[in-house]
């Protein structure tokens, strides 16, 4: 009697544990089969929004995205040399087009994920007026911008100055950051009185306005469209996570994040 009951208890325990193991096993197989990881090269100006988008992406799909931040030009050179990136979020249109020509891109995968916005900014409150008249008035020694020879923010900054007719007058005052983050550091440490930075760098997310110092959000009409362009690279053509990420970047969740950080939405 005692033996029988003990036996039934043991049997129950055995079956119970077996089912737990089986469930766990099935779960893990499930996870292995469906949760993939994708490696993404991200333009440094898109660091903040992309970090948040990646977190939402993991929540929504179970896939994960590993982000590598840097200048778009550097990532371009690395991709040309066989870097294992699967998705490339460039700050400009130029590099994705070049990669298309060299056959690194999945056909028809190129799309604009955000519109960059340029700000003339100073760490000093009240220094930059909301019309940018400080540029014509002068009275400063250094004007920071990203290097126009390769950085997209520098290219549009030059266009704005050309439009206002002050480009050649201001050129001797240029100090050039290697990328937009370095340009921001020149201005935020007050070594340059003012400079052209990205809205994402100076926006206060809670209020949607420029957080500190003073700035002029430059209207899109003063420069050519600043289309931040992404492509799916051939390395990621077979990876469901890469495909899912490209789709997720167009989702309402992602667009809301992109807008919150001071980018325009693709039309």
């Amino acid at each position: 009697m005692l033996f029988n009951s003990l036996k039934s208890v043991l049997l129950t325990l055995y079956l119970f544990s077996k089912s737990i193991f089986l469930t766990l096993f099935l779960f893990s197989v499930n996870a292995i089969a469906h949760a993939e990881t994708t490696l993404v090269a991200v333009a440094s100006d898109f660091t903040k929004p992309m970090t948040e988008i990646a977190a939402e992406f993991e929540k929504a799909t179970g896939h994960s995205a590993k982000l590598s931040f840097g200048s778009s030009g550097k990532a371009y050179t690395q991709i040309q040399s066989g870097a294992p990136f699967e998705v490339y979020l460039s700050a400009s249109e130029k590099y994705p087009l070049e990669l298309e020509k060299s056959g690194h891109v999945v056909a028809n995968s190129r799309f604009v994920y955000a519109i960059g916005k340029l700000v003339l900014w100073s760490a000093k409150p009240g220094y930059v007026d909301d019309q940018g008249q400080v540029l014509t008035k002068g009275g400063f020694q250094h004007l920071a911008l990203a290097d126009p020879s390769h950085a997209p923010y520098g290219v549009v900054a030059e266009e704005v100055m050309a439009h206002l007719g002050v480009l050649e007058k201001l050129r001797p005052l240029f100090v050039q950051g290697e990328n937009i983050s370095q340009t921001f550091q020149f201005v935020s440490t007050s070594n340059a009185e003012l400079g052209f930075v990205g809205l994402a760098q100076v926006i206060d997310i809670a209020s949607g306005k420029i957080g500190s110092g003073s700035g002029w959000i430059i209207p899109d009409t003063l420069h050519s469209p600043f289309r931040q362009t992404a492509v799916l690279l051939k390395t990621g053509a077979e990876n469901p996570a890469a495909l899912a990420l490209v789709n997720f970047l167009k989702s309402p969740t992602a667009l809301a994040i992109i807008e919150k950080y001071g980018f325009g939405l693709p039309k």
């Binding site: 030009g73 290097d147 390769h150 950051g177 370095q182 550091q185 020149f186 070594n191």
Partner: protein, 228 residues
């Protein structure tokens, strides 16, 4: 081929590296002498401080120099009060930053050379009534000659090859702070690979000739000769 802008960056690099090397030798020699001879308990601290720039990534060091030398930094306020303005984005700022960054490459070979001399030549000089300065220039400097050569070569070469600090502190201004390493980087970023190859090749050839010249000079006057 090399454009006139490329050649301007080469010339600027020579000026920065040359001036920085001279300054590092002037500053580094007494410092290395003190470090080699002292029994002070601060020796360890000073040794560590001199070696610190080796640890920090150049762009990080550049960032802090930007803060320190900027209008609200202590060095920046000092230079402003002295009527010099602030140092970032100037030739002077580039030289100061290079001196700080490359100093360990000058101090350490000198310190090793001074320590290797030992007490005996100094004592011998003293018995011959040589004063400290006389001893230093007629006994120590000739004996430490290989150390001086190594320090000069390393200090110069390291400044020529520097990128992160000068990019940060210099602001990449043509003819003023755009040195050759920054120019090569610019060419690469702008996808002008041909120009990058030419300039990098030119820099390599130039650096190789300078180093070869210095090492041949070192070989032509072996130390053993002077020890006799």
């Amino acid at each position: 081929m090399l454009t006139s802008a490329d050649i301007a960056t080469l010339w600027l690099t020579c000026k920065v590296a040359g001036l920085a090397t001279v300054l590092m030798l002037i500053l580094g020699t007494p410092l290395a002498w003190w470090l080699a001879r002292t029994t002070s308990r601060w020796k360890g601290v000073c040794n560590a401080l001199v070696a610190l720039p080796l640890v920090l990534p150049p762009t990080v060091l550049g960032f802090y120099l930007l803060i320190l030398m900027g209008p609200s930094g202590p060095i920046g306020q000092l230079t402003t009060q002295l009527g010099l303005g602030t140092l970032p984005f100037t030739f002077g700022g580039l030289v100061v930053a290079s001196v700080l960054y490359s100093l360990p490459f000058v101090v350490q070979p000198l310190q090793a050379a001074f320590a290797a001399i030992g007490d005996r030549p100094l004592e011998a000089a003293a018995t011959l009534r040589a004063g400290p300065l006389d001893t230093f220039f007629t006994v120590v400097v000739p004996l430490a000659r290989p150390g001086f050569m190594t320090a000069t070569i390393l200090g110069f070469a390291h400044t020529v090859g520097e990128f992160g600090v000068v990019l940060m502190v210099g602001g990449n201004i043509p003819d003023k702070t755009r040195v050759v390493s920054v120019q090569i980087y610019n060419h690469v970023e702008a996808l002008e690979y041909d120009q990058a190859h030419w300039l990098a090749g030119g820099l390599l050839a130039f650096s190789f000739s300078v180093l070869l010249l210095m090492y041949s000079a070192l070989k032509a006057h072996p130390v053993a000769h002077q020890l006799k």
